[in-house]
């Protein structure tokens, strides 16, 4: 006997209710995730944006005899406590390098001490009552103000918050990632090409395949141990350098690139391979001229995402000595350097309150670069995506 519409509708009502419920639950999950993301970004922005501003003070510098021994002597005693000590230390150096300066005076904006900076930003500070009064007066005169913090982008780490910046770490990150890319990209792509296009499907290749997939899931700190044991202890690669960091991160990025490349190669339809074989291509010509160009957008997207992942990695770099106090921009691949997340990690451990905003500022820079990299990956995919 066939069912009437009424019977069917009664059943359907229950089913529709169920799907509506599921829809609301999934939308709720999405909303919650979005909310956390917004909260995270808002918190980072509130904490990190002040790091891009820094108190600067206009002082008269008197290059006298005493100043060549102790920089503070060049400044008015009233403001000398308010000026960054890194600046005071620079004065004797300047005089030594340029003796003509002796006896001259100069008025310019210089870095203020981080306590002044924190006072102006309304954070906890250690200024005395009289110093606060002086600061207030200087602000009223226009000789003390919050200005864009170029130091943050032009210098390396420092024990003094006002003088510390992320340049050394940013350069270190670029150098480390260059090493990672130079190692992981060719090896990863060629491995995937071999496994997908050349290797016979036998027990050995299956074992290799399973192991590569497992490698992608290994805790990253183990790659650090591997780097320490093999690269540093066995091959004697210098520690703390972009070279060893890049090599270690390359180990970590390899499986990501291999898996992404294999997926990209597999998505190239066989009809293209047949067409190429049909006109008399050798296996390598098929891969080079037809399969790889089609797979390239996928390969690039996967590699960029793998690199972005490597860029945010800290744990394996602790083991190879890249999480350290590195005040200078590394001049070569074999000299000490640090990377952005390591710098953030270092700052997060500093006791001074002023480093809190540096930490958040560093995170903002790291996030900006990551978003840029991921956007590039999406754009590359869109740009080179071809129909066939």
């Amino acid at each position: 006997m066939s069912q009437s519409f009424d019977d069917i509708s009664a059943q359907l009502k229950r089913r529709h209710r169920k799907s509506a419920r599921l829809k609301w639950i999934s939308m709720g999950a999405l909303g919650l995730a979005g909310l956390f993301l917004v909260l995270f970004f808002a918190d980072m922005l509130v904490k990190g944006l002040p790091a891009f501003q820094q108190a600067q003070i206009q002082v008269e510098i008197d290059y006298n005899e005493d100043a060549s021994r102790m920089g503070r002597a060049a400044l008015d005693p009233e403001v000398s406590r308010l000026v960054s000590r890194t600046f005071e230390r620079m004065i004797p150096v300047q005089l030594r390098n340029n003796p003509d300066l002796l006896g001259t005076t100069e008025t310019r904006w210089v870095l203020a001490d981080s306590e002044v900076d924190q006072y102006l930003k309304g954070n906890r500070h250690k200024l005395s009552e009289s110093q606060q009064a002086t600061v207030d007066r200087l602000v009223a005169q226009g000789d003390l103000a919050l200005k864009f913090n170029t130091t943050f982008f032009t210098s390396g780490d420092s024990k003094m918050p006002e003088a510390s910046g992320i340049l050394a770490a940013a350069v270190g990150t670029v150098m480390t990632l260059l090493v990672t890319l130079a190692i992981a990209f060719p090896i990863g792509v060629m491995t995937a090409v071999y496994l997908e296009e050349f290797a016979p499907d036998n027990r050995l290749t299956q074992i290799i395949e399973i192991n590569i997939n497992n490698l992608a899931a290994i805790p990253s700190i183990l790659f650090g141990l591997l780097g320490l044991a093999i690269f540093i202890n066995f091959f004697g690669v210098p520690r703390s350098t972009p070279l060893i960091g890049g090599m270690t991160l390359a180990l970590m990025t390899l499986p990501v690139i291999i898996i992404a490349t294999r997926t990209a190669l597999r998505s190239v339809p066989d009809s293209i391979r047949h067409a190429a074989f049909g006109v008399g291509c050798s296996r390598w010509q098929v891969v080079r001229d037809h399969v790889l160009p089609l797979a390239m957008p996928g390969i690039m997207t996967g590699s960029i995402i793998g690199l972005a992942q490597a860029m945010g990695e800290t744990a394996p770099l602790i083991i190879v000595g890249m999480v350290a106090f590195i005040p200078d921009v590394s001049p070569s691949f074999t000299e000490a350097a640090t990377v952005l997340p390591a710098q953030i990690f270092t700052w997060a451990g500093e006791p001074e309150k002023a480093f809190v905003e540096k930490t958040a500022g560093g995170i903002l820079v790291l996030l900006a670069i990551l978003i840029f990299l991921n956007a590039t990956a999406v754009m590359l995919r869109k740009k080179f995506e071809r129909r066939w």
Binding site: H274, A275, G278, V279, G280, C281, R386
Partner: protein, 274 residues
């Protein structure tokens, strides 16, 4: 007359001959058997294929006709677990010999596939790629000339001469298939294999391709697999009927369709099964 014109008919020769057709041997196949793993797909195939004719391979699905076609340019090498016995001879060379380079073979035996599969490159590069790869042309002018000739021979030149640098995939299905034919003939092969070249096309594109095949057979030996009985009757000079991995009947097309020698072929041709 060819050396196979002897009094005792050799296996693989058609029963009767088309008196006005060419009779020079192109490909000689003797006792060819092929296995995918354990299952045998071809059983003792014997066939002589004649130059500058169209030979149609017909038969129900799974009868081994496409497998046989792929033996002729060793495309079966790409499939794992294929095992093969017997002789496929072209120009006196065993194409399956170890020393025979499959690239050299495919240079002389071109292929057109069931689904049009132009390279995701420009129309021009689709045609120019293979000649460039095989070093048939060096100067740009020669290359242009070769591309034009191949496209003219494939009957596509008038339609695409103003958009040679647009992607090959932007053409219609029938045009794409003719582009694939142009790509195959650009290297001047001896033989062109066609694996159901019109099965993905509409009737008008199909008619165009059939006309084209008729013209091309002046220059090339064409072997085509088809499911379309009328197509075989229209274009082919010789027809081989495959069934369960065997050639049941091989004859000139007129005789085959007018007066099939075997019951199976007759039933298939008249549409009783298949």
């Amino acid at each position: 007359m060819s050396r196979h014109e002897s009094s005792r008919p050799e296996p693989g020769q058609p029963v009767t001959r088309n008196a006005d057709a060419h009779h020079e041997l192109s490909i000689r196949v003797r006792d060819l058997s092929l296995w995918y793993g354990d299952s045998q797909a071809l059983k003792n195939i014997n066939i002589d294929i004649y130059q500058k004719n169209i030979t149609a391979l017909i038969g129900p699905s799974g009868c081994g006709k496409s497998t046989f076609l792929r033996c002729l340019n060793r495309m079966n090498d790409l499939i794992p677990n294929v095992h093969l016995e017997g002789l496929v001879e072209m120009d006196g060379f065993d194409v399956n010999a170890v020393k025979m380079d499959e690239v050299a073979l495919r240079r002389r035996v071109g292929m057109v596939f069931q689904k049009p599969n132009p390279f995701p490159k420009s129309i021009y590069d689709n045609v120019a790629y293979a000649p460039r790869m095989h070093d048939l042309v060096s100067r740009k002018a020669d290359q242009d000339e070769l591309v034009e000739k191949a496209l003219r021979d494939a009957g596509l030149w008038e339609e695409v001469k103003d958009k040679l640098h647009q992607p090959g995939t932007s053409l219609s299905g029938g045009q794409q298939q003719r582009l694939c034919i142009a790509r195959a003939i650009a290297v001047q092969p001896d033989v062109i294999l066609m694996d159901e070249p019109t099965s993905a096309l509409d009737p008008i594109s199909t008619a165009t391709i059939e006309d084209l095949m008729d013209k091309l057979k002046r220059q090339f030996t064409i072997i085509t697999v088809t499911h379309n009985m009328q197509q075989a009757a229209r274009v082919a000079d010789y027809t081989a009927f495959f069934h369960l991995g065997e050639i049941i009947e091989y004859n000139n097309t007129k005789t085959m369709f007018a007066n099939p020698a075997t019951k199976k072929a007759e039933d298939y041709i008249t549409g009783r099964y298949g």
